[in-house]
Symmetry: C2
Subunit: 217 residues, 2 copies
């Protein structure tokens, strides 16, 4: 259907569209670790296939059919990540690169059966919602810890940064998906935050960590 490269571009454009409206050539290039000129070439191809809206120098957005493809790849990515963690006992910081390959396995029936096999999970190991077989999912309403105030509490439900080092740090601090936390203190000097983690212990995190750890209230 679509090539591996095309799929990766569509997924990247989809993710970048979440933050901003139109996505720029340079943003895509950075996200795919490729050069702007390569991106321009691909944008022309995707526009020819009517998967993106593209006018020179103006950035791009996905068309409905482009978005459908992107969401399907994300569905596959997240289901495979869930499989790797829940069935094969990988850690949440180990699965991204493998899922990056597996998301391109083409069979729709395979992925629907995998979904059923795992009993239709709603979220991947990083708290991201998993689209259903029709591409529907509810975008989660999460706030970074840095947006909370003292005495606010909630449940750790997602991360903004997916790098291994960040996930490993969180794991070591027991700041993992599902844990209940409450804000004990916010240090005004550096905006670092002191948290109470489920009556287990107190953790002091930097502003950067607080920016990247997402809470459901």
């Amino acid at each position: 259907m679509n090539t591996l490269a095309e799929e990766n571009y569509l997924k990247s454009i989809y993710h970048l569209s979440m933050d901003a409206g139109n996505v720029s050539t340079n943003q895509i290039a950075a996200s795919l670790k490729t050069k702007a000129s390569s991106v321009t070439d691909m944008l022309k191809k995707l526009a020819d296939k009517a998967l993106i809206n593209y006018t020179r120098y103006q950035g791009v957005s996905l068309t409905p059919s482009g978005e459908k493809i992107a969401i399907n790849i994300i569905r596959k990515h997240r289901l495979w990540e869930y499989f790797l963690v829940e069935k094969l006992n990988f850690k949440w910081d180990q699965v991204h690169d493998m899922a990056e390959e597996m998301e391109h396995i083409s069979s729709a029936e395979l992925i629907d059966r995998l979904d059923k096999f795992m009993d239709y999970p709603q979220h991947d190991p990083h708290g991201e919602p998993i689209p259903d077989c029709n591409g529907r999912f509810k975008a989660h309403e999460l706030k970074p810890i840095s947006a909370l105030s003292v005495n606010d509490s909630g449940i750790i439900s997602g991360v903004r940064d997916h790098t291994s080092s960040f996930l490993q740090y969180l794991e070591k601090q027991q700041l993992v998906i599902g844990k209940k936390i409450a804000i004990t203190e916010i240090i005004s000097f550096d905006h670092s935050v002191v948290l109470q983690v489920e009556n287990i212990k107190e953790v002091h995190i930097s502003r950067e960590v607080a920016n990247n750890l997402l809470i459901a209230l």
Copy 2:
């Protein structure tokens, strides 16, 4: 490591080497549904990488490192087939094309954990042996039904032909892996064979089917 095309060539050469010694350009072309000239190009590349022994016009064989790669791909192919049948409930005639994609997922740790998850299966859904993580497996000593005599009996343990239509035919006749059969009669006119299937029923199969259904004695 190696490209998808290179992996498919190595696997094809490995399989073709089972029947004959040196594998010819045309055999590879037929097996990969490509042209002889494309094969020649790839053979040069694989020879440069020291994965095959190649002298012009003389056909090829795998080097030890080429064989190791081929066996690893076959391991992945068969483990994924087993997964699709045993965990996702696909039929044995549905899994080949999916496994053809999945065999190229690169992570060795993933495949070793998958192996463990399924409790180290010895054979894929078609009865083919699954190499262990060191590439070792015991080649099965099977005979086609056409090589047996009246009153011989044994267990259905493999198939030579993996096409959907053949596998579906076998399934319909209940001639599946694990079933015990005995030769009741061999019709000398057309070499067709009458079988007793596990005291369940009698089946009459053509010479062609008898040639492609493998028995462990």
